[in-house]
Every structure is written in structure tokens, then in C-alpha cells.
């Protein structure tokens, strides 16, 4: 029982950290947040690898194989798309950069 209790500690503390960190993510980045957490939770790949590779019978191996495939899709696709999105978020170009491009500096900030 003590093992399960320890796991529960880990879960509660991690959820707590997650709550504190994620409430500070601005709405601006909510879509990247979603794809990021999705990529991160594809860590279930770790469990899938064990199921596919520990040779405990055909059923376990095949189910593990499908799970590895599904989780890898999320790891690879998830981190790539998150990076692609985050790359797009840019600040306003500096006024002198705008001048150099031949346009007057935009009003406001």
C-alpha cells in the first residue's frame, strides 16, 4: 500500500505544480499550451515501449506496438507543431526597423 500512497503524493504534488504554472499561461498561448501538454503526456510512450519490448506474449507485443505508434505520433507531431506555432508569435518590429523598410513608425506602442 505504501507504494500507491507514494504515487498519490507524486500525483497530487505534480497536479499542484501544474495548476500553479498553467494558471499563469496567458490566453494568447492557450493553443500552444494544449499541443504542448499533449506532446508531454505522450510520455505514455515509455509504458508502450515496455509493453512492446518485454516479450510477454503476442497480444501484449502487438498492443504495445500500436501504442508505441500512437504515442510516437504525438511526441513527434506534438513537439513539431508546438514549435511551429511558437515560432509565429512575434513582437511588433522595432520602429527603426520599420523606418529602414521605408514605412513610417506605426502609432501606439
Amino acid at each position: 500500500m505504501s507504494l500507491q500512497l507514494l504515487q498519490l503524493y507524486v500525483f497530487v504534488l505534480a497536479a499542484f505544480v501544474g495548476f500553479l504554472v498553467i494558471t499563469r499561461v496567458p490566453p494568447l498561448l492557450h493553443t500552444p499550451l494544449m499541443s504542448a501538454t499533449n506532446a508531454i503526456s505522450a510520455i505514455s510512450l515509455v509504458g508502450s515501449l515496455v509493453a512492446a519490448g518485454s516479450d510477454k506474449g503476442t497480444v501484449s507485443t502487438v498492443l504495445g506496438f500500436i501504442a508505441v505508434t500512437a504515442a510516437t505520433i504525438n511526441v513527434v507531431g506534438g513537439f513539431i507543431i508546438t514549435d511551429r506555432m511558437l515560432k509565429m508569435f512575434k513582437r511588433e518590429p522595432k520602429p527603426d526597423a520599420a523606418k529602414a523598410a521605408g514605412t513610417p513608425a506605426p502609432g501606439g506602442k
Binding site: 497536479a15 501544474g18 498561448l29 501538454t37 510520455i43 505514455s44 513527434v76 514549435d83 511558437l86 513610417p104
Partner: protein, 458 residues
């Protein structure tokens, strides 16, 4: 030695994941942080592969290869407009992995599973299975393979409650009698059904909540996998994902002034509450692109309110072009983003960022609502419910109480609309009949291109 390496790789991964999420609190640090998280993932994978338990690599390598081949195009090629369905399908893959690991675990260790482990395993396959079908349904609706309108029938809530009750009863039975294969597999079957029935009655406008909720479930299923196979990094990463999805669903339902239960049990689509107010006797003023351009061209402040229609028309680049022209003429353009605009949290932000709109021009509802009064023009592009004043002043309206953008406070309002059909929720929008409002009919992309051409000449 190997065991220690494995455990340390998991610990490092956990820390890097948390740092990665922390970096998302600011767009400037986000990219680097997420690259570190990806490194953490790589470490955890290597740490797992060197483990003693793993004795054969053929199936692993095949899975990794196929997953990579499918994953790369899903990451590189999917356009930003298709992001909601892309995210929905990835929830399906995540939950599928968790569920299958659970089934494999039960298959191998079925007879020796204790009560506590069964609780974790049951939770894993229950939430995993319903997320698999639920996410697939959400994907289907967003991709328009399945009708995006709410599908309802008589006694729907009764059927759903019965299904859920039966599943929970099986779950309870399994905890008491862990080795009951028939019950275990039946529970998975029912969970798959629940996922379908749960998303069936949900309409497109409610998708942000559903996607967030499925995000949370997928995370919890991963976390439960960690409990079942005794792996802390899974517990931690799953908990982070679960917390994130949960927070997002709370934010989304708050932005729609609705409770979780209300959305899950499909009240929006099921009970089509007709508002007392009708359009009878009211007229709308339509406007030509030429006239609209004159109003826009010399605006000191224009606020753009984007909605799902912007994504459908893929008009984000034209919006930016128009904004740049106005800025050249000395005006200022700001974007007002409602939390539930579009089909997923932050949908409008990624769309506009893709079109090179600087992120400091994108404002949250609370930041910008006081500025509408100052705005010479408010340009509403394919948004409806989020600017409907009925939310403020019509208690009979189904969206009454929902926080909205104060578009009606602007000096002039130009609404881009395809036709006079009411929005997704089927609610009349009195903003359209406001005397300050003019409607510019047509495809948003074509209309914006016309506006750009006209403003250039003005």
C-alpha cells in the same frame, strides 16, 4: 546501474517538462522552453530503451518508425486553420496509447492484479477509451465528416446517465474482483460508447470546452497508466496535462457562463430556447466595400473582432494587410480576442500570429473591453455570439450572462457576414440591427481583399 540511469532520465524529464510549461507563461521564452521539454522526452525514451525489461526491439523500432512517419506531416503540414481538429485527433492518439498499455497490462498480469492496481488500471482504460471515441467524434465534427450541429434525440440524457452508471458499477465491481476479464472488456466497450454519445449532442460553438475536457481526460488516463505500471514520470506528465485541460475547460465554460454539466449534457443543442426577441420588423443596413473602406481608411482606432468565420474563410492574411494599410495612414489597429472565439482555446491567436500580426496587438477581452468606446470602427469578422448584446440585456436569451466583447459601444460597427442566417447557436443577434451597424455581406476573404484595394485608393 542501468536502473539508476533510467530513473534519473525520468527525473530529468519531469523537471524539463515543468520548466517547459513554465516557459509558456511568456511568448519570448516559450520556444526554448519547449525545446528543453522535447529533450526531456528524448532522455526518457533512451532511459526506457536501455531497461532490462526490454528484450526485443523489432516491434519497438517498427512502431517508432511508423509513428514518426505519420507524426512529421501532422506537425509540419497541418494549417493553422485546421488546428482544432489536429489537436482533437492527437488527444485520440494519446488516449489510445494509454488504453492499449492498460489492456496489455491486464492481459499479462490479469490474475495477479491487486485491488489498488485495478483501481488505477480501470480508471486508465475507462477514461482512455471514452477519450478515444470522444476525440474522434470531436475530430469528425470539426473536420465536418460528421455534422457539426448538435445531434439530439428523446431520452438522450437518460441513455447517457444509464451508460455512465453501468460503467461505474463495472468499475466498482472490478476493484472488488480484479480478475474478471468479461467485466473488464465490457467496461472498455461501454466507455467507447460513452465517448460517442457524450460528444454527439455538442455543437460547434461548444467545442472549446469539449476539446479542453478531452485534453484533461487524456492526461488523467496517462497519469493512471503511471499508477498502474508504477512509473512516476507518467504520473507527473499526466497530472500536468490533466491540470492544464481542467483549467482550460474552467476558463472556457466561465467565458460562456455555463457549467460543465450543462455543456456535457448538451443543453445548448437539446433545449433550443427561443429568445423572445425576433428579427420581425427590424431591418439591417448593408454596406458596399467602397463605403466601408471610406469609414475604415481614416479611423484613428479600429478594433477587429475575429471569430470562427475568419478561420473558415482563411482570411487572416487579408486582415493583416488591411491593418497595415490603416497603420500607414496613421491609425491604430487592435484585435479583441474573446476566450471562446473559434473552436478551441487560443484559436484566433495562432491564426493571427500565423499572418504575422504582432502578438502585442492581440488583446484579451478584459484588457480591451473599455476601449471600444474610443474606437472609430469595430470590424467584426465571422464572430456572432461573442458580440451579441443579448448576453447583457436579454434574460430570455440562451447566452444571457455570458461575458461579451463590447463591440456595440464602438462609434461604428461593420459586420462581415456570409448571409443573414443566425449563428451556430441559432440565436438572433441584435447587434446586426443596431443603427450604428452596417453589414458587409459575402465571403470574408473576398470582402477583405476588396476593402484592401479600396483603402489603398482612399
Amino acid at each position: 546501474m542501468r536502473e539508476i540511469f533510467t530513473q534519473f532520465s525520468y527525473l530529468a524529464a519531469s523537471v524539463l517538462f515543468i520548466l517547459g510549461l513554465k516557459s509558456l507563461t511568456h511568448p519570448d521564452s516559450a520556444r526554448r522552453g519547449m525545446q528543453q521539454a522535447a529533450l526531456g522526452m528524448l532522455l526518457a525514451i533512451i532511459g526506457t530503451l536501455v531497461q532490462m525489461d526490454i528484450v526485443r526491439y523489432d516491434w519497438i523500432l517498427a512502431g517508432l518508425a511508423i509513428g514518426t512517419v505519420i507524426g512529421i506531416p501532422l506537425g509540419v503540414m497541418v494549417p493553422m486553420t485546421a488546428m482544432p481538429q489536429r489537436i482533437a485527433i492527437s488527444h485520440m492518439f494519446g488516449a489510445m496509447a494509454a488504453t492499449l498499455v492498460g489492456v496489455a497490462e491486464f492481459w499479462v498480469h490479469g490474475a495477479e492484479i491487486g485491488h489498488a492496481k485495478m483501481a488505477a488500471l480501470g480508471f486508465e482504460v475507462l477514461f482512455g477509451a471514452l477519450t478515444v471515441t470522444g476525440s474522434f467524434m470531436a475530430f469528425g465534427k470539426l473536420q465536418e465528416i460528421i455534422t457539426g450541429r448538435p445531434v439530439t434525440y428523446k431520452g438522450q440524457n437518460f441513455v447517457n446517465v444509464m451508460l455512465f452508471g453501468a460503467t461505474l458499477a463495472m468499475f466498482g465491481y472490478l476493484i472488488v474482483n480484479p480478475f474478471s476479464p468479461v467485466v473488464f472488456y465490457s467496461m472498455i466497450g461501454l466507455s467507447l460508447l460513452i465517448g460517442i454519445f457524450m460528444v454527439l449532442p455538442i455543437g460547434g460553438a461548444d467545442m472549446p470546452v469539449v476539446i479542453s475536457l478531452l485534453n484533461s481526460y487524456a492526461g488523467l488516463a496517462s497519469s493512471a497508466t503511471g499508477f498502474a505500471i508504477g512509473n512516476n514520470v507518467l504520473i507527473i506528465a499526466g497530472a500536468l496535462d490533466g491540470a492544464s485541460g481542467f483549467i482550460l475547460s474552467l476558463i472556457m465554460s466561465k467565458a460562456m457562463n455555463r457549467s460543465f454539466g450543462n455543456i456535457i449534457f448538451g443543453a445548448f443543442g437539446a433545449a433550443v430556447v427561443k429568445s423572445d426577441k425576433t428579427s420581425a420588423g427590424l431591418t439591417v443596413q448593408s454596406i458596399s466595400a467602397e463605403d466601408a473602406a471610406i469609414q475604415i481608411a481614416y479611423a484613428k482606432l479600429m478594433i477587429v473582432v475575429p471569430g470562427y468565420g475568419l478561420a473558415v474563410a482563411q482570411a487572416q492574411h487579408q486582415v493583416r494587410e488591411l491593418a497595415e494599410l490603416i497603420e500607414k495612414k496613421g491609425g491604430e489597429v487592435k484585435y479583441a480576442i474573446h476566450p471562446v472565439a473559434g473552436r478551441m482555446p487560443g484559436h484566433m491567436n495562432v491564426l493571427l500570429a500565423e499572418a504575422n500580426v504582432p502578438y502585442d496587438r492581440l488583446y484579451d477581452m478584459d484588457e480591451i473591453n473599455s476601449e471600444f468606446e474610443r474606437a472609430d470602427v469595430c470590424l467584426v469578422i465571422g464572430a456572432n455570439d461573442v458580440v451579441n448584446p443579448a448576453a447583457r440585456n436579454d434574460p430570455s436569451s440562451p447566452i444571457f450572462g455570458m461575458p461579451i466583447l463590447n463591440a456595440d459601444k464602438a462609434q461604428r460597427i461593420i459586420v462581415m457576414k456570409r448571409s443573414m442566417n443566425p449563428g451556430f447557436a441559432g440565436i438572433e443577434n441584435e447587434l446586426f440591427y443596431n443603427e450604428k451597424t452596417s453589414l458587409l455581406f459575402g465571403d470574408a476573404k473576398a470582402s477583405l481583399s476588396k476593402l484592401v484595394a479600396e483603402v489603398k485608393q482612399a
